[in-house]
Symmetry: C2
Subunit: 218 residues, 2 copies
């Protein structure tokens, strides 16, 4: 079994991995708020446990074993978030912090029950896929809102960040998952985008926001 700290490293490696699954020591250090020498030594420990591919001065990559274990932690995190929203009346902006703690609980019984009570959900409240019991993630193809063109009509399906502030920002503007968004225009200068949705006929969103929103064509 992995320690609390090891689990956090695995999760961060999983979340930070680019297309190739590569992560630098520095990125990990920033994400975890742990200085790089400490990260370095923990990575060696994870490499000993065959969870991470490690070569000096090369980017880090999870092994298949590491990916699986990370996936299982993320599964617990996302199942928890879904349970908190669906069964305990929490808002989608409140659940991340609680799930950060609950994900470390060791009780298959507990998470199986959550899964069952939720009817084996495939997505969490932020639209992220819930890994299966083998830790495998079923990737869904989404397009960033920022990559859409004027005239496009898309469904808001997921967000890539779930910080309290960002989700409150969306709440305040009536932006929730499932809503249809029409792209009216884009501003080449700063990448901002003017859209309409629900009762809003004109709303301008900065690129910082639109690139964190994932959409599907309908």
């Amino acid at each position: 079994m992995n320690t609390y700290s090891e689990e956090n490293y695995l999760k961060a490696l999983f979340n930070l991995g680019n297309e190739k699954g590569e992560v630098t020591v520095q990125e990990l250090s920033t994400q975890l708020n742990i200085k790089s020498p400490s990260v370095n030594s923990m990575i060696k420990k994870l490499a000993d446990k065959k969870l991470v591919h490690y070569e000096s001065y090369k980017p880090l990559r999870l092994t298949d074993k590491g990916k699986k274990e990370a996936g299982l932690i993320i599964r617990k995190h996302r199942l928890t978030e879904m349970y908190l929203v669906q069964k305990m009346e929490f808002g989608w902006e409140q659940v991340h912090e609680i799930a950060e703690q609950v994900e470390h609980l060791q009780s298959p019984l507990f998470f199986d029950k959550i899964d069952e009570l939720l009817g084996f959900p495939k997505l969490d409240p932020h639209g992220s896929p819930i890994p299966d019991k083998q830790g495998k993630v079923q990737w869904v193809e989404y397009t960033k809102l920022s990559d859409n063109k004027p005239g496009d009509q898309v469904k808001l399906s997921a967000v890539t960040h779930s910080s309290d502030e960002f989700l409150k920002f969306l709440n305040a503007r009536g932006l929730h998952l499932g809503i249809m968004v029409n792209v009216i225009s884009t501003e080449p200068f700063d990448g901002s985008m003017t859209v309409s949705y629900g009762k809003k006929s004109r709303e301008t969103l900065s690129k910082t926001v639109t690139e964190k929103l994932l959409t599907e064509k309908v």
Copy 2:
């Protein structure tokens, strides 16, 4: 805030305390499965934090501050157990282990919500009182089943141990909280007791069992 380990010490001190609230190093050591020198040094740390009264070679006692913090941990434990049984379809014999972990979560929001969803319960699934938000326990006066006399009719209201094996033993015999029990006879030799309840007209229980069952006169 206290660490995970400190919380376990506080809880154990609370649970082991006799009428005077006294606990020996050895009792703590046994309960926590930690050798006494380690217990001794942790106790000094807790004494520095004003959570425990400590004098060399004297029994240990929680301070008022210590009692309060222990009470709040036990509150989280018992609320969790109640939630697991009432809202998640777990059996009363399954919830202790999960609650041992959940009790360490830091999220007032989460536990307040549980409390609310349960309708502010006063007792957990084993009949133990749930401390209030100040960590205060409302003691209820129960009599051990073993202290009753032949002819007594009592209600089974609580158990003093919640190990999986003991609760399964009770389940197997149809003994659940709230059931009425009639004392038929007691055996002076080994302290065993013959009782009737529900559909059972004769059932003999060892003293080991009857002294773990708490009853009320009706």
